[in-house]
Symmetry: C2
Subunit: 333 residues, 2 copies
């Protein structure tokens, strides 16, 4: 008993020493992959404003909640949402076990490489593609499937692992916020359990801070063992007006900072930045055709109303081409 407590005191002191070291390291540029300019400065100013003790704009650590969209905000989303590419890979992998897929949409067109037809069914088709082979299993089994895919599947353009295509400058923002007492959350239209399989490793965001779309899950006894079983139906689609709703449900407080890249994130930004006190809202704008992609409007979504709102409210709009020294971690020297 005594030994255990001594241990935890030493462990505590050690983790404290590390925390202090981290704070000292922080005095170097916390956003080295950002070019100096308005965007970078807006982030630094916001953090310094809300963390300055004694200032009227000071926000206690418990209320330092920051929410991030994932696709197009923390990692790339072209040529398709990576979860859709995962779904397509999975359909191809499982096709031999499902001869019936050759006759049924959207699987038939996915297997024929005709994505336009495969997606013609709208959300219903997307849910089927993403769900194929991932239902009637437990969340743990699904987690293993995604982890295996993330460790091996390659992006069609860069040839990189998908998880290598997180944005280095945004990883620095996540880290910088956490070093300043923020709790960082993902709030994405992507599947919560899909993102959880890599969010901790790639973003430093633990499963309980990942909010996303969720499929129906049922509690069952199988062979006398209690299990959760993933169902085919979509339960909650975490996009547009539903993002603030999901934040209220899972977090129960309004974020003081919100980050997105499309009009699907707009309501989250509106709601976050309409709260009292100092707030921060940021859109990542895809302006770099050479290093990433350049688009405001794509089949995946649009950033249009968001740009107007950003202008009206003085939110930060990141110009990837000019604001970011590198896009991906593997470009760092």
């Amino acid at each position: 008993m005594k030994i255990r407590h001594t241990h935890s005191i030493i462990a505590g002191a050690l983790s404290c020493a590390l925390a202090v070291t981290a704070a000292v390291a922080q005095s170097a540029d916390p956003l080295p992959s950002w070019n100096d300019g308005k965007s970078k400065q807006s982030i630094l100013t916001f953090v310094s404003t809300v963390t300055r003790e004694g200032s009227p704009q000071f926000v206690p650590p418990a209320e330092r909640i920051a929410t991030f969209d994932n696709d197009g905000t923390l990692w790339a989303e072209q040529p398709l949402y990576f979860q859709l590419l995962f779904g397509i890979d999975r359909i191809k992998e499982l096709a031999p076990e499902h001869p019936e897929w050759k006759e049924v949409e959207p699987f038939k067109s996915v297997l024929a490489g005709d994505l336009k037809t495969a997606f013609a069914g709208g959300t219903k088709s997307l849910v089927e593609i993403v769900g194929a082979g991932n239902t009637n299993i437990t969340p743990d089994e699904f987690d293993q499937i995604v982890k295996k895919w993330a460790a091996t599947a390659r992006h069609p353009k860069t040839g990189r692992l998908y998880t290598e295509m997180a944005y280095q400058p945004m990883l620095e923002v996540l880290e910088y916020l956490r070093a300043n007492g923020f709790k960082t959350y993902i709030t994405s239209g992507g599947g919560a359990d899909f993102m959880r399989a890599f969010a901790e490793r790639v973003y430093g965001i633990p499963p309980e801070q990942v909010i996303g779309s969720v499929g129906e899950v049922k509690f069952e006894m199988r062979d006398g063992k209690p299990v959760l079983i993933r169902q085919a139906a979509l339960d909650f689609f975490d996009d547009n007006v539903f993002k603030p709703v999901a934040i209220q449900r899972n977090i129960g407080r309004r974020p003081i900072a919100a980050f997105g890249n499309s009009d699907g994130d707009l309501q989250m930004l509106q709601w976050s930045c309409a709260g009292a006190g100092t707030r921060f809202c940021l859109f990542v704008r895809h302006t770099d055709a050479a290093r990433e992609w350049a688009y405001d409007i794509s089949p995946l979504g649009r950033l249009e109303k968001g740009l107007e709102e950003a202008k009206a409210h003085g939110w930060t709009v990141v110009d990837m081409k000019n604001d970011w020294k590198v896009i991906y971690p593997f470009e760092k020297k």
Copy 2:
């Protein structure tokens, strides 16, 4: 800039010093309101087992998730769930503004003091009672209403504030787990936003670690301002088979410890304790007619199947009368 960093280093070192002090204080009996015996020992043994570094049963802090039912597990639930008593108080308070309630159930019977008739409509009636006067407002407004009620309303039997009727021995368990690196969550059939109004103050559990039933919430623009508005409909009832589902949705990991007091908590305990490695499940059994209440079966729920399962799996069953030195914090000398 430099000053800010120095500040946060000092603040960091200070909070570290406090943490270490807390760890030292911990070497005293961490559960002073528990009589020595099997129940208390089972908690101490579990915590020491999963936190012993180098041991094969060691669980990393990130996975130390503990979930607690609220009503009857963390605070009392007689003669009615406190949230129902809140709903009844609220109906009486608002009755002058709602003359129509005199003619409509369940309000009519609530106002006449005939709760049996008021509750005859089952879940639908309960949702209406709990929701009366609390819809078409924002979560922030609701939070203020609950806080005001919690600061003034008195329990019909003890004459105490409801928040004074948390169980002292369970407060010690929460504290003890957190001091050992656990993240403590509420997973209750009660309303998430209702509990969030006092959970941090009373239990030390922040809003984002409160999982409960949720009503529908809608995002709207009102007078040009983005707001969330509480609706009348129930969206999710966090009880029985739905507790593990809500845990998967909000936390995304299986708890290694779960605490409840009725068969409505059984699936949460089953699922938590069926995971690999060392697990801990506990039922609080209401056996103290003098200091609290004595019941396994009441109109509010039953502990029946849970007792069988506890016996079969060796879970801890707390005998309030014999295991607890005091029930409520105000009994402490």
